[in-house]
Symmetry: C2
Subunit: 242 residues, 2 copies
DNA sequence: CTTGGGCAAATCGTATGCAATCTTGGCATT
DNA sequence: AATGCCAAGATTGCATACGATTTGCCCAAG
């Protein structure tokens, strides 16, 4: 199967494609394709394929894949290639444990720095979320998941700590993979309401409450997963390759 | 100045130098050189220099530098090269803010998983710390700083969350850079006692107290820094290049 | 003496070639 | 029929070559 159909090469604007750093642009495009599930876990991303897709040499394609490997979105196997990550249930648990630790802190910072303009921006974002929520079809689903993650990333951005922001970038992206693999229900139907609630608390300056709501939100997301570890077998990776 | 004298190429054992992943080994060696200050902030690390030093091509040297750039230990400037990071005071604050957020959580996980064998290992580690503390000379200083960071990394390891462990890897390494730049006193003379106190609390199973001690410990480290922000100029990077 | 332009050196960005390694299909053997 | 083995194909790992960009120096002009 050719992955080219799954990748929208135009979702990075042409002029951000500055004279340089094409590998960064490729990383971004692949990242987006992965987090909104156009590229399923287990998909092979060979250097030559990626390279020819973006019309660059293997060198720069490789650089992009290395970056993705570093943030845990792809796994590379020696002399075999790069594959979209297939997080284990244990990894999933650790991802959410990390989020439970970090996000309340982000909320606490955000409540002190958020501006009315930020609030308005958040409202727009939530409206968009809701719009996708009411649409049908896989495209809307994907957009909804993406938008849902963006809420958390915007929050991290408002918090103003670029290090935590990068950590959240990684955690949100990997969460999306996990949800793709282990999610059971119609995703975050509850998620939207919870996002709103967090934002309301932030607007009132009630950081305490916002943090609590955020933890509950994360709990709910994780509770919606089916993380039975039918592990113990090393071949479960092979089985989930499909 | 040649950086070769500053790098101990043998500090990775020859046989861990498996048939492959030389870039990983190079990254590790450079990392160690950076975090214990043999390579000062601002030092230029050109691809060819690193390559010839480790007797590899620029390709693999470049991969190592990319990884270091990803974890914030070096900064790369387009068409100019890679330089050991020169964290700004603001970055320093964000690093410690992140640690204040993450480390208490790590302690909380660790207290539930720590074994008597772990405790013994920690004691050994603290003894080593103390030994360096009582020695004189820059080498002992460097070793002390390294050992002090290792305490936090061991804790993360015991906590059992590989994601947080990786975050801590980055934060501890960058902290070392920050201390090198902004530290004022005889480093962690107090640090050792505080490490012991945290361990004691862990041994007693008092996670609450251990977490509090850890926060105070981080506060003390940061309080020892001189983080006056004479910023506002974009060229401050150039000034601090020395 | 200072300033501006231009040339040379150094360094990075990228493409490509070759060797090593892994996978796959078929064939022989049990 | 099942298993083990071997050769061919494919893919990565690495090195090197070439072009682009930046830097620093030197010299000339003011």
């Amino acid at each position: 199967m050719n992955i080219s159909e799954k990748i929208n090469l135009t979702d990075t604007t042409p002029e951000d494609r500055s004279p340089e750093d094409r590998s960064m642009a490729i990383r971004e495009t692949l990242r987006n394709a992965i987090i909104d599930r156009r590229l399923a876990p287990g998909t092979k991303l060979s250097e030559s394929e990626v390279g020819s897709l973006f019309d660059v040499s293997r060198t720069v394609a490789r650089a992009a894949l290395q970056m993705l490997a570093f943030e845990g979105l792809v796994k590379t196997e020696r002399n075999r290639g790069a594959f979209v990550s297939n997080p284990s249930p244990e990894e999933a648990r650790q991802i959410f444990a990390s989020r439970r630790l970090i996000e309340p802190g982000i909320v606490a910072s955000a409540v002190e720095r958020i501006t009315p303009e930020d609030i308005a921006e958040f409202r727009r974002q939530l409206d968009e979320e809701e719009r996708y929520l009411n649409e049908r079809g896989p495209a809307a689903r994907r957009a909804e998941i993406k938008a849902s993650g963006d809420f958390h990333l915007m929050l991290a951005s408002v918090a103003g700590n670029v290090i935590l922001q990068r950590f959240m970038d990684e955690l949100v992206a990997r969460s999306s993979l996990v949800i793709a693999l282990y999610g059971r229900s119609g995703v975050s139907s509850c998620g939207h309401a919870e996002h709103s609630a967090v934002l309301d608390a932030l607007e009132k300056g009630d950081g305490e409450r916002a943090a609590k709501l955020m933890i509950h939100h994360i709990d709910h997301i994780e509770a919606d997963l089916d993380l039975q570890l039918k592990q113990g077998l090393g071949l479960k990776d092979a089985l989930s390759l499909a």
